[in-house]
């Protein structure tokens, strides 16, 4: 009986533990193995060395994909956080109809990225969307054709992604703002400190953990971004908006080049580790004050 009591939690957790061990970590090892072979259409298991990685880094398309990831990731995270924070602060001013506004801003998050991508594809299409509308108002020289310009198209993806995610970031920050001790804020107000100083010197610094959570959520959204690109530009014009995830998909499922796909997946995983490991380290290290 006592044994059972001690071991029930372990027994209950065991199936999911095994499942994760096999289906997540097991397949990471499998992918790493495949990335070292000459697999094409079907997996082969004879180790061949780092040839797939050499090919990967020699591919101009992979360069474009990695550059796009940096541009997209950096802009998406920074702009979403700024817009989200701004919206949260405005909503925090005890305004009327806050509930309605909050829902409106949060709503894009409820849409599938495919829907977001398709809608923005139409909005940004120069012949159908904004450009055409403004021109029909009489501004004949108005041009907004980022979607079809290879050097600008990646920014349309940033635009759509920010539109989708900033409401969610706003909700995170709003919860953070509300959790700050009101006594401190009142004390500051009594001392006659201006509102912007209260935010910049008291509220925002106490919200540091929220920033970290928002960053982690947004960073993993950025790295795994796939459906938005497929719906909005399908990697085009040319392959100007390819991201590592779409590159991997193309290699694995369209080109019959499993080795390349595995190698690109490993690089993606390393990028994620570079972000997550410092986070885990800061979370898991023993706190001095405990």
């Amino acid at each position: 009986m006592e044994w059972l009591e001690r071991n029930v939690p372990k027994l209950v957790l065991a199936p999911s533990f095994v499942a994760i061990l096999v289906f997540v970590y097991g397949f990471i090892v499998w992918t790493a193995w495949i990335s070292l072979t000459k697999s094409r259409l079907m997996p082969r298991y004879d180790i061949d060395g780092l040839g797939q990685y050499t090919r990967l880094f020699a591919s101009p398309r992979w360069d474009v994909a990695m550059n796009n990831l940096y541009i997209f990731g950096a802009l998406f995270i920074i702009i979403s956080m700024l817009v989200g924070l701004m919206l949260a602060i405005f909503l925090d001013q005890k305004i009327r109809a806050e509930g309605v506004l909050r829902t409106i801003y949060l709503y894009p998050m409820a849409l599938s990225l495919i829907v977001t991508g398709t809608a923005w594809k139409w909005i940004l299409n120069p012949g159908l969307g904004i450009q055409d509308m403004v021109r029909s108002w009489g501004f004949e020289s108005f041009t907004f054709d980022w979607l079809i310009r290879p050097e600008m198209a990646i920014y349309t993806i940033v635009l759509a992604a920010v539109w989708q995610a900033s409401g969610f970031v706003m909700a995170l920050f709003l919860a953070g703002l509300r959790s700050v001790d009101t006594e401190i804020i009142r004390a500051a107000q009594v001392d006659g400190i201006p509102t912007h100083r209260i935010y910049s010197a008291i509220i925002i610094p106490t919200m540091a953990p929220i920033f970290l959570s928002a960053f982690i959520v947004l960073a993993h959204l950025a790295i795994k971004a796939f459906d938005l690109v497929i719906a909005l530009t399908n990697g085009g014009p040319g392959y100007a908006t390819d991201l590592p995830a779409t590159y991997m998909y193309a290699m694995a499922f369209s080109r019959g080049d499993l080795g390349q796909a595995a190698a690109s997946a490993m690089i993606m995983m390393m990028v994620i580790f570079a972000i997550v490991v410092p986070y885990l380290y800061s979370e898991l290290r023993p706190r001095r004050d405990q």
């Binding site: 259409l41 398309r61 012949g127 159908l128 392959y239 100007a240 369209s254 019959g256």
Partner: protein, 411 residues
């Protein structure tokens, strides 16, 4: 008569003492006309006493079906027959082996009725391992007849003439070329230009044999120059446009031409347009015929019922009756050269005549853009270089460099 005899013997052989033929068929013909075409095969198969299990997997132009196939093969349970084409057949043969359907092929005399070039695709190390269904011609120009008549434009025989015609149309305020900015469409135009400017021999060297010299040649640079000129004839909103939307631009008179395979004809016909009256089909300038052949390959399966299903299916696919009905539905032409084409439209008849003529002089060539000439990785590398060029302002010299680097990297 001979084939009728052969068919009846096969039916007799498959009499009550033998197992009932069964087939599980993996394909991605799920849209209207295509689904109708598969149903024809299914009905014939059932009429011969077979049990048909349909396994349609839609999506991604066959990508999803190929993923399903890989999963099935890896789990040791390959479907009886799979829609496969081009060098992918031989690639699968090397990976897992394919069933030998030689007896059916010899009994029905396939070698006599298929052009040599097409037959080669159906063989793995000399054995018959696949059965062809149809032949699509890829290098067509579709034109809006009314616009062309208005501006007195006749069939261009060189790309220069095509350019002159396009300039004339552009000056009159008409978009000369309807095109969709998807990489396979860019590749379709590219290979038509390679064939037109370089000729069949150059096409063979550059896009089939991947000869480094041909890929780096001045001719290839001229091809990219012409591609840049063509880019100027396309309207600004072409990014990501589907091919059938480009076809309807030609239909509605918003654009004059489209360079596309003969599946575009299906769109015209479905809209009630008539070839020669409402639209024209011209081979792209230059000499040659680029083909895209759909076929079914047969995996190694256990059990007599399944093996009989394969034999029956192979026989039916190459049967003249099926070849005719299927291709009338699909818009392509029969792979067999001995099917009467009386019920087909003029474009199909021309396609058939050109195929027979070009088969003799080496200008019947596999389409690279549609996976007939090269395996996945090198074909994809070429498409990357082409689409990158078409969608940017890269110089032709850089494009040639990138093309040959990409091909070397994909080997």
């Amino acid at each position: 008569m001979k084939s009728v005899l052969a068919a009846s013997t096969a039916v007799m052989l498959a009499g009550p003492a033998m197992a009932q033929p069964t087939a599980e068929v993996l394909h991605w013909w799920t849209s209207g006309g295509e689904a109708k075409s598969v149903a024809v095969l299914q009905d014939q198969f059932k009429a011969e006493g077979g049990t048909w299990t349909d396994m349609p997997v839609a999506g991604g132009g066959g990508d999803a079906a190929m993923t399903a196939l890989r999963a099935r093969v890896l789990s040791g349970n390959a479907p009886t027959a799979v829609q496969l084409k081009g060098p992918a057949i031989q690639e699968w043969f090397e990976e897992t082996g394919l069933a030998d359907i030689g007896p059916v092929a010899e009994e029905n005399g396939w070698a006599d009725v298929l052009p040599e070039q097409l037959a080669a695709h159906m063989k793995c190390e000399g054995q018959w391992c696949a059965a062809p269904v149809n032949v699509h011609r890829v290098n067509w120009i579709w034109g809006n007849k009314q616009i062309l008549d208005e501006h007195g434009i006749t069939q261009p025989t060189t790309w220069e003439e095509f350019n002159a015609a396009a300039e004339k149309l552009q000056a009159a305020g008409i978009t000369p070329l309807a095109h969709g900015g998807q990489s396979w469409q860019d590749a379709t135009v590219f290979e038509a230009v390679v064939l037109g400017l370089g000729g069949p021999e150059f096409f063979q060297k550059a896009l089939v044999d991947l000869d480094t010299e041909a890929l780096n040649s001045d001719t290839m640079k001229q091809v990219f120059d012409e591609l840049r000129v063509l880019r100027g004839y396309v309207d600004d909103n072409f990014s990501g446009r589907d091919w059938n939307l480009a076809t309807s631009m030609v239909m509605n008179g918003e654009a004059a031409f489209q360079i596309m395979g003969d599946w575009a004809k299906g769109e015209f016909l479905a809209a009630g347009k008539e070839p020669g009256v409402d639209f024209v089909c011209w081979p792209t300038p230059g000499d040659g015929f680029l083909y895209n052949v759909d076929s079914f390959a047969f995996f190694n399966v256990e059990g007599e019922d399944k093996q009989q299903g394969q034999a029956l299916l192979a026989k039916l696919i190459m049967g003249p009756e099926f070849q005719k009905t299927f291709n009338l539905n699909k818009g392509s032409i029969p792979a067999r050269t001995d099917v009467a084409l009386d019920d087909f439209d003029d474009c199909a008849k021309q396609s058939n005549a050109d195929m027979n003529e070009d088969a003799g002089d080496g200008s019947l060539l596999p389409s690279y853009a549609h996976g007939m000439a090269l395996r996945g990785a090198p074909a994809g590398a070429i498409t990357d270089a082409v689409t990158n060029f078409f969608n940017s302002d890269m110089s032709s010299e850089d494009a040639v460099q990138q093309l040959s680097d990409a091909v070397a990297n994909a080997m």
